[in-house]
């Protein structure tokens, strides 16, 4: 398949993630949308990796660094989620809500 299909799919997923972050008010759903953005990037990286592999082709490992990068993104995303959920739990204990509309005390 042409690479443009993958780019379009990844961009669609990424855009869904961005729109979700900007419009949803539930902290967990906002977080899921951020994960969607990261996974769209993962998909794109893997597609590019395959593309470079086919283009270079000489060595079996050609273009494999894109796939390696994906693993790092997964690890970092997991670390970010563990910290993020801890922060959300901490906030829930204090205000009994995870609605991010509560985030307006600092405006005053």
């Amino acid at each position: 398949m042409p690479i443009n299909y993958y780019i379009t799919l990844a961009l669609c997923l990424f855009a869904i993630g961005v729109v979700g972050v900007l419009t949803r008010r539930n902290a967990i759903i906002v977080f899921m949308c951020i994960e969607l953005m990261l996974n769209a990037v993962n998909l794109l990286l893997v597609a590019f990796s395959k593309m470079h592999h086919l283009a270079k082709g000489a060595a079996a490992t050609a273009g494999s660094d894109g796939q390696l990068f994906v693993f790092f993104i997964m690890v970092v995303a997991a670390a970010e989620v563990s910290v993020g959920l801890a922060i959300i739990v901490m906030m829930y204990r204090n205000v009994h809500s995870i609605n991010i509309n509560f985030l307006n005390r600092l405006k005053h």
Partner: protein
């Protein structure tokens, strides 16, 4: 190289320190000894003496500039520990862990100043960010701290997503993450590359709070415990700036025409929004948050100029801005009232502290004989040398004049107004540290050659 491993190791040591020591004093001593060790090891490495050697070809390269920047970051952290480490007890119960997180953040800063691979840039930025989310939320019962942590986390993760998309596009266009192998100049017409570069630019602007991506900064800096605001507004910000400059200087210089104008406009916008909004603040802490945005505008000049003077200017800026802001936050952390009125009459209650704060404010405003003046001077000189964007220089000078207003407001409150004492006391050791910072600021302002002598010889 040695500093990267050692600071990660020290972070682990500090985590164990929390149950090895029952009291807080030995933990503090251990942290200060650790940072001193880190400083010595890094200075030794700058002079070519390595404790051990690992091959990091293709991932990290420790140029003398990067090593010197690391030395500045470590030295500023040492000063920060000396003046603020006692106040960290007020933030929460996990004293040793805060030091551990700060050591981890330093590891991230070392990666960001010396990467040669976009993977290392991404990892470095994340190693800086994730501990910072925790430090921001350190005051667990404080709603403002909770809110700041969640806001910082959501904004940080969002900008990381954008940065990753940028890196993925660049990978698609060039086929490698290694900057040296990219052949950017040959791909100047590639749309993928341009899109990736602009996405990277915007996400880095998010991280260093450049307008119009700055909206999270005042809330986060205001809500976080003051001691940690001090760390994040100074050492972290300057460290990420070093990475920003390194990225655009080493990788995207061949296509500078495509992004320089964007950056010049962003710099002007940042200066304008930061300075004008700072004028209207009632809280000194929030004013300093906006002032940090305004100073980021000046630091962007190094990127607009992209020459040697710009690099030197960023070094001077790192020293001048970090030292002065750490000093001021060290004082604010000991105040019970963060508003401008809280500073009323400080000069009669605490004459020495008021004098030090005055010197810090003068340095931030860029008054001659202080390090801040030279830093601004080098930034303006760098842009003039690069030839273009003279309007930016003129605008920068105008905005520096505006900034004097809100810095002098604090001085005026301290010396020309009377009020009750809102200062909760300071030990004589911390007074010596404050005076030491003042001496450093004035020394750097008078003899910048000493600093550059260190860098080049």
């Amino acid at each position: 190289m040695n500093a990267v491993l050692l600071s990660g190791l020290l972070g682990v040591v500090m985590m164990f320190a929390s149950f090895l020591f029952k009291t807080k004093a030995p933990v503090r001593m251990l942290a200060i000894l650790g940072i001193l060790l880190l400083l010595v090891v890094n200075i030794l490495e700058s002079n070519g003496i390595r404790l051990f050697h690992l091959d990091t070809t293709g991932f990290l390269a420790f140029s003398s500039y990067a090593l010197f920047f690391n030395t500045i970051a470590i030295a500023c952290t040492l000063v920060y520990f000396l003046i603020s480490s006692k106040d960290m007890q007020k933030a929460g119960n996990h004293y040793a862990e805060y030091f551990a997180l700060i050591f981890f953040i330093l590891t991230g800063i070392f990666l960001v100043t010396s990467f040669t691979n976009l993977l290392m840039l991404f990892l470095g930025i994340e190693i800086i960010s994730i501990p910072l989310y925790i430090l921001t939320g350190a005051a667990k019962k404080d709603l403002k701290s909770n809110e700041a942590a969640l806001k910082y986390l959501l904004m940080g993760a969002f900008s990381t997503g954008i940065m990753l998309l940028g890196i993925a596009f660049i990978y698609g266009a060039t086929g490698t993450f290694e900057i040296a192998k990219m052949n950017i100049a040959g791909l100047a017409k590639s749309n993928l590359l341009t899109a990736g570069m602009l996405l990277l630019l915007f996400s880095m602007c998010f991280k260093v709070s450049v307008a119009p991506f700055h909206f999270w900064t005042p809330d986060v800096y205001d809500g976080a415990p003051t001691v940690f605001t001090s760390f994040m507004a100074t050492i972290v910000k300057v460290g990420i700036f070093a990475g920003f400059l390194h990225l655009f200087y080493s990788a995207f210089e061949p296509v500078a025409l495509q992004w320089k104008l964007w950056l010049a406009i962003l710099a002007a916008l940042t200066l304008f929004i930061g300075n004008i909004t700072a004028v209207f603040q009632q809280s000194v802490k929030r004013m300093l948050a906006y002032s940090s945005i305004a100073q980021a505008g000046f630091m962007l000049f190094a990127l607009v100029a992209l020459n040697e003077t710009g690099h030197e200017g960023l070094l001077l800026y790192a020293i001048a801005y970090s030292l002065a802001t750490i000093g001021i936050f060290g004082v604010i952390a000991k105040m019970t009232d963060y508003s401008f009125d809280g500073f009323n009459g400080l000069a009669t209650h605490q004459p020495l502290v008021a004098l030090c704060v005055t010197i810090f404010m003068l340095s931030l405003a860029g008054i001659p004989l202080s390090a801040g003046f030279l830093a601004k001077f080098y930034m303006l000189k760098a842009v003039i040398q690069s030839g273009d964007y003279l309007w930016l220089v003129i605008f920068g000078v105008l905005m520096a004049a505006v900034s004097a207003y809100y810095y002098f407001r604090v001085i005026q409150a301290m010396y020309f107004k009377q009020g009750p004492n809102h200062f909760s006391g300071i030990s004589s050791f911390e007074k010596y540290v404050l005076v030491g910072i003042c001496v450093l600021i004035i020394f750097t302002g008078l003899f910048p050659n000493v600093i550059f002598g260190w860098l080049y010889f």
